[in-house]
Amino acid sequence: MIETRELTKHFKEVRAVDGVDLSVARGELVALLGPNGAGKSTTLRMLTTLIPPTSGHAEVAGFDVVRQQREVRLRIGYIGQGNGAGHSQRGRDELISQGRAYGMRVPAARARADELIASLGLGEVANRAVSTLSGGQRRRLDIAMGLIHAPELLFLDEPSTGLDPQNRANLQEHIVRLRAEHGTTIVLTTHYLEEADSMAERVVVIDHGRIIADDTPQRLKATHVGDRVILGFASAHEAGEAARTAGGEQRGAEVRITSDDGPRLAARLAGSLAPVSIEVIRPTLDDVFLTLTGRSLREDATTLEPALVEA
């Protein structure tokens, strides 16, 4: 569905996207995860024909994003970082205009608009001026507009940024349902770890315009960080013994062992070493990012967590 080779975009001195090789198969749900300024939006904007690459090559839905823009545009849906609906317009009118922009006839566009208004719960606000809608309502209207022509490939740029947790959960549910019901290929960007973790089967981690990791969330965590099993013992002496037997790191009366399957290891060691306590810490995608870059993705985290870096 998507095939890029050395895709690059420079804005004067800024290497916004720096040689991205990405390939996405039909039906995949891929999250591009990275901090602000990583180059996620720029990548999406090239793939959706909005801006030409500085160099490199990209094919989307089988067509070249520079030479066959119209073919690409006909086949994709795009929900950008901003709001797609004009503020002085009414939601329903915008949905119908959007359908017409994709060549649908008025009755078909109207019927499809009604369908989407119902399925996204916009019934009460569809006839109001867009400027009077709440953030969550506008975002759902954006999604409806992106879906009007039932595209086989949908791009979403930070779909849930700025939404409260409930609206965010709602939106994620819609996206997952869309995928389940229609087999739509979905590429979304996010800087929310939980979102990437819970929704996508495949997470592409981007930093400074480059792909630094690309795998399922589980495998990313297992490969780059691993589970940590922390065994507690009655004394430092016992802990020392256990560390020698099981091959972990001793800290006072504790032993820490890294493994790509923490629960299984814990179960095994519980029998053989007889610890007094067991804790299994499973890594987050933030731990993955931290291991790969030395920086955290969380907005509130400004310093490194030494314990994690050591582990």
């Binding site: 904007r45 959706t48 024909t49 909005l50 801006i51 119209r70 545009r73 006909l74 994709i76 795009y78 950008g80 970082q81 901003g82 709001n83 797609g84 609906a85 004009g86 503020h87 002085s88 317009q89 009414r90 009118d93 915008e94 205009s97 959007q98 017409r100 922009a101 994709y102 060549g103 954006d142 507009m145």
Partner: protein
């Protein structure tokens, strides 16, 4: 070609919809011309001053409305709805032409309103000439609208630039076209500047036409000036739209 027309219709009707839903928006951009009409016209000497003044005010309201219209696009470029349109398969020229064509509708509504306000005060309407005058004005406001959109596209995220250029050009264009005061008695340099202003020919044509003088030289000059502005606007506007991201 037919698909360009179809795309243009989609853009045109989208632009028109808020105007139809909320016709008062048309009146807002008319407040200034109406002030000039109410507060300036009584100062003009002679019985036939309205016959001279009103056609100019109709051109003025077209100038005000169409030159500001780019600010709508500027706003849509900031909110993301312009970007959303750019990702659709709509042909780029249609994105500009459809918007520019829409300028005709408020222009017609405003002209009708101004005439309706002035007739009770003794303004004499010559319908045939007036209709031809509106055809000329349509070409002029398409061009102005397209130029305003071009300015918006090149201002991109810099509102101040759009408004500075628009405001800086607005009054010289207006005054040099002799809308408020006749230019004929002015110094030579002013007359030369006035002759270089395409709007002068449009205003002169409207004055003759609204007074029923169809077969005047000014009609041909007005047609050429309006067509030239219209064409120039569309050409630079379409180029700017093709480069837009």
């Amino acid at each position: 070609m037919t698909s360009l027309v179809a795309d243009t219709r989609v853009v045109f009707s989208r632009e028109l919809r808020p105007v139809i839903r909320d016709p008062f928006s048309v009146i807002f951009s008319m407040v200034q011309p109406l002030f000039f009409l109410g507060l300036f016209a009584p100062l003009l000497p002679g019985d036939s001053s309205l016959q001279w003044f009103v056609p100019g005010i109709i051109v003025m309201s077209c100038l005000f409305g169409s030159s500001m219209t780019g600010s709508n696009l500027l706003f849509e470029m900031q909110t993301g709805s312009h970007e959303r349109m750019l990702v659709t398969p709509l042909r780029r020229p249609a994105l500009l032409i459809g918007r520019a064509l829409k300028e005709i509708v408020p222009m017609l509504a405003q002209a009708a309103l101004i005439v309706a306000v002035c007739v009770p005060f003794g303004f004499e309407l010559h319908l045939g000439g007036a209709l031809l005058g509106l055809v000329i004005l349509a070409g002029f406001c398409i061009g102005l609208g397209a130029l305003s959109y071009t300015l918006a596209l090149s201002s991109k995220n810099r509102d101040w630039m759009f408004w500075t250029v628009q405001q800086t050009l607005l009054f010289p264009l207006l005054l040099l076209a002799g809308v408020l005061l006749p230019i004929e008695n002015g110094p030579g340099w002013l007359q030369a500047l006035s002759k270089a202003n395409p709007m002068t020919y449009v205003v002169n044509a409207e004055r003759a036409l609204f007074n029923g003088d169809v077969w005047a030289r000014s009609t041909a000059e007005g047609l050429v000036a309006a067509a030239a502005v219209g064409l120039l606007g569309l050409v630079v506007g379409v180029r700017a739209m093709k480069r837009s991201d």
